[in-house]
Symmetry: C2
Subunit: 203 residues, 2 copies
DNA sequence: TCCATAAAAGCACGATCGTTCGGCCCTGAC
DNA sequence: GTCAGGGCCGAACGATCGTGCTTTTATGGA
């Protein structure tokens, strides 16, 4: 049966709050003290749930990754194979960036923070990112094999460029506070898809 | 005449080292203690050159901005107007990202770190970024008015998408350690330019 | 209801944080 | 030769950091 014990439920609440906080101040800026205050726990009471701060950071990333899988990845594969599924992925991804956490997407924040700091946090981050890229590459590959995209489309290159659009969106929206960030992202995406689409009945 | 006094020269050395360090651990992760150790100064001796840590952070950004102007912006306008100048900008920008500092581009790092933290650091960062975007927009606008790019090309949209390519490159190179990051960026850039180019003698 | 166990708190530790202050050294002007 | 001032240091401050202990409180099965 194994319903969730008290410990597990508070730990989940901690991770929820920690992820929110980390999206605002960064994974490195996250502090046991402030997190304890935010969850109304004592420092030691909170700390008891984790082996170290580093472990907490890793588990925050894992928590965020599960969320991403739930609200982006899994629903996406419900869309019809090929281009529609690519579109669905993009739409859900960009919505995720705006709505998942108060601060920006935690993966984007953490990426530039930990790209030079060897260790388990970086490793987990790379794992999450590689996973995401792999899923995207697969989905684009399907669009090719379905005949929606041209044969010479390189799914990895597509994934690279789509990631770029998402990053530009994050940058424009969060730092520059550009109200047209999302519109711009959509236009860029449309251009990208257009350039990959098989010519509609040319012969 | 005003040659550089002792104080100014050590301050310059501090900013140099600080920028390097900040590119590795982030502007927020930058610490008076570690910076003092890196410059072989005492904490207080170093601190005497700045009003506060926040002031130091701002001046680091200003220092990096000057460097960017010197090695990217200024040489770029030496290239012939129009598409060649756009190309020059891209090439210099991407080289900057790989070679300017040991850690990634400090603006990229700082952008996701301070996008949610109101204050002078964020303000300076936005100023620098707006400057960069404006220059780029102008250069692309010239490519349009020179007839290299089609009339319906939106320079701001171009700038947005180019920023995306740069960010994707940073992400792929530094976090994912993708050896083909630069090649991918170049392909994306070529595709972007191609889609903007005026059709070569159609009539 | 009692008790074993889990969960949270309390307290303290060494270290480091940003910041301040008083004083020593060195240089250049008189 | 003296004196003013800039440049740098040593020491120290209160606060907070991550991390251990020991103790109290809450929980749930017998």
């Amino acid at each position: 049966m194994e319903r969730m014990g008290k410990g597990e439920s508070t730990k989940a609440a901690i991770l929820e709050e920690a992820t929110e906080l980390a999206s605002l101040v960064g994974l490195g800026g996250l502090t046991i003290g402030t997190l304890a205050a935010a969850t109304r726990l004592s420092k030691s009471g909170l700390y008891a749930h984790f082996a170290s701060k580093e472990a907490l950071q890793v588990q925050v990333l894992q928590y965020a990754r599960d969320r991403f899988t739930d609200v982006v990845l899994r629903p996406t594969v419900a869309a019809p194979r090929g281009e529609p599924r690519v579109r669905e992925f993009f739409e859900r991804w960009i919505t995720w960036q705006s709505t998942a956490f108060d601060g920006g997407c935690i993966f984007v924040d953490a990426a530039s923070e930990f790209d030079d700091q060897e260790g388990p946090v970086r490793d987990e981050l790379v794992r999450a990112e590689r996973d995401k890229l792999e899923s995207l590459t697969l989905i684009v590959g399907t669009a090719v094999s379905e005949g929606h995209f041209r044969d010479d489309v390189d799914p990895e290159q597509f994934a690279y460029e789509l990631e770029g659009i998402i990053l530009a969106h994050h940058h424009a929206r969060r730092l520059m506070r550009d109200g047209r960030a999302e519109e711009r992202a959509r236009r860029a995406f449309d251009r990208l898809v257009d350039s990959c689409r098989a010519a509609a009945r040319t012969a």
